[in-house]
């Protein structure tokens, strides 16, 4: 089966009178069904440009983006997609509930289902008190959460979110991360962009790192975290009564050290991996050239 989302050799250059900006250069990747894919890069890296190309808001100069194998220039592909734009702007004369109803109608959902889903999401995202207020009166964070609600109201198999956590308070960040993980549990595919490394570390299966429009690396997050172990912190006591000692052991020596401690009657109180974290990896890739 074709991938929920696939880009092949996508390039985009912005041309204005004086400047040419290569916003995206030959970017190719595929997101597998049921995975959470983090699209990580500093400001101005080309994340939003890539996402706009996927959503057919702008046209790529070269290359194609496909959703389940269909070019994303076709409007019907967006039936399977829930999209949250960067700093979403929603018709501010409507109320939150009205906007969700409108989006549900566009997706052709039955009335009953729209009401049910919208109540559910407004409750989940803590927007219920504001549901009947004009969007005009929403704060940035509320707008972001309503944008997320409208993206998932029709329960799409693919979510494309441009900086879903930006502008949120810590509590809401957790809420949104949980929501993303939950979507994955329900078998959905999530593609989201961010410039915050910890967002990726916690929730993503894979991460693509983009800089200056070039996709530098696509890595699985778990092995990266595993590979990243540089040493183990071992805390032990030589006898029941003696004071605790702490040593750092390299991964290669771990087994021999453990044997050495336990064979002399010592007890291991703590064993903790010391990692070179994703941040270092990220910075390493970003600074490569």
């Amino acid at each position: 089966m074709s991938h929920p989302l696939e880009l092949s050799s996508v390039s985009k250059q912005y041309v204005s009178r004086k400047h040419r900006v290569d916003a995206v250069r030959e970017v190719s990747f595929a997101v597998a069904a049921g995975e959470i894919f983090g699209f990580l890069g500093p400001n101005g890296a080309g994340k939003s440009t890539t996402i706009k190309i996927i959503m057919n808001l702008i046209r790529a100069d070269r290359g194609t983006a496909t959703i389940f194998g269909t070019p994303s220039t076709k409007a019907e592909t967006r039936r399977h997609v829930g999209f949250l734009p960067e700093n979403p702007a929603l018709y501010d004369y409507m109320t939150g509930a009205e906007y969700l109803r409108f989006v549900g109608n566009v997706h052709g959902m039955p009335k009953q289902r729209i009401r049910q889903r919208s109540d559910e999401l407004l409750m989940l995202l803590d927007l219920l008190p504001a549901a009947k207020r004009a969007i005009r009166s929403y704060s940035k964070g509320m707008l972001q959460k309503l944008g997320l609600a409208q993206a998932i109201i029709h329960d799409p198999p693919v979510l494309i979110l441009d900086e879903p956590m930006s502008g949120l308070d810590p509590l809401s960040r957790v809420l949104v991360k949980e929501l993303i993980v939950n979507e994955k549990k329900n078998g959905k595919t999530v593609f989201f962009s961010t410039h915050i490394i910890s967002d990726v570390e916690r929730v993503c299966d894979r991460v693509g790192i983009i800089r200056n429009g070039i996709l530098k690396a696509v890595k699985e997050v778990a092995p990266l975290l595993r590979e990243g172990i540089e040493a183990y912190r071992v805390r032990f006591a030589e006898h029941e009564s003696s004071a605790e000692q702490e040593i750092m052991v390299s991964p290669d020596d771990l087994t021999t050290q453990m044997v050495a401690i336990t064979s002399t009657g010592g007890t291991i109180r703590l064993l903790e991996p010391v990692r070179k974290n994703l941040e270092d990896f990220f910075l390493h890739i970003i600074r490569e050239d």
């Binding site: 967006r78 009205e98 409108f102």
Partner: protein, 262 residues
């Protein structure tokens, strides 16, 4: 398309446009008063004033709504969220267009009824030269609506190629005035008085006459004001002309909007 149409009308309503129209419509209260000043044609003057005021308000409405609607969606990035939905861009453009035209039709109906009531109050006291043909009054307003529907389509066309609202707004105003007098200019060119005109100028005006919309053709006010019988074949032809022209302009607008990078 239906959904976009609905929220477009909702948006216009929520922006209190109708309140503005209602306030402006208070001016209709002056119609009976001013028409009293006429010596010989009180009813005709009342009808003139009603139809003119209606047409003027519709002009403001179509320039404003037509010029701002698309531009605002793009400028404020509402379009990102909307076009991220499974909507074809053509449905989005046409939905917005139909929303505005529906609103103009609604306004025209309300203003038409108000104007008719005020004009009617004049007839009782000062009967007109010839009995008023209310059917013509309805035609005059209906064709006014068509005229402004055509104008809105131009505003949309300009919106699709412009990043500011100046072009759509001022472009619409310009094309309205040029299109309203193109028939006059054409008639002039083909009259004996234009003999001195350079042939190149003549052909330029003639060419423009065929290309530009002929808004003057939609003006049936005289038929309503002076109870001149309608030429139904002419009405039909004008209607067909409208359909063809508006289809072309909207088609162009959709094509251009499809290519537009947001």
């Amino acid at each position: 398309m239906k959904n976009i149409l609905r929220i477009t009308i909702l948006g216009i309503m929520r922006d209190r446009v109708f309140h503005g129209i209602t306030v402006a419509a208070l001016v209709f209260g002056l119609v009976p008063v001013i028409s009293q000043l006429s010596m010989r044609q009180v009813t005709e003057l009342a009808l003139t004033l009603s139809l003119s005021l209606t047409s003027f308000l519709l002009l403001l409405l179509s320039v404003f709504l037509g010029g701002v609607s698309l531009w605002k969606d793009i400028d404020r990035r509402y379009a990102y969220s909307i076009l991220g939905l499974p909507l074809r861009r053509s449905d989005y453009v046409l939905g917005k267009y139909l929303g505005i035209v529906s609103f103009i039709l609604l306004t025209a109906t309300v203003l038409g009824i108000v104007g008719a009531l005020f004009s009617y109050s004049a007839i009782g006291v000062y009967p007109p030269n010839r009995p008023v043909l209310w059917e013509n009054y309805v035609y005059a307003i209906f064709f006014d609506v068509l005229k402004y529907a055509l104008l809105v389509s131009f505003a949309f066309l300009f919106s699709t190629i412009s990043t500011s609202f100046f072009l759509p707004m001022f472009g619409a105003v310009c094309i309205f005035f040029v299109g309203s007098s193109s028939q006059e200019a054409y008639n002039y060119v083909n009259s004996p008085e234009a003999a001195a005109l350079h042939p190149a100028a003549k052909s330029a005006i003639t060419a423009l006459y065929y290309v530009l919309p002929n808004f003057g053709a939609f003006d049936f006010k005289t038929n309503a004001i002076y109870s001149i019988p309608m030429d139904y074949q002419g009405l039909m032809l004008t209607f067909v002309y409208f359909c063809c022209y508006v289809s072309i302009v909207l088609g162009l607008a959709v094509i251009l909007f499809n290519r537009r990078q947001l």
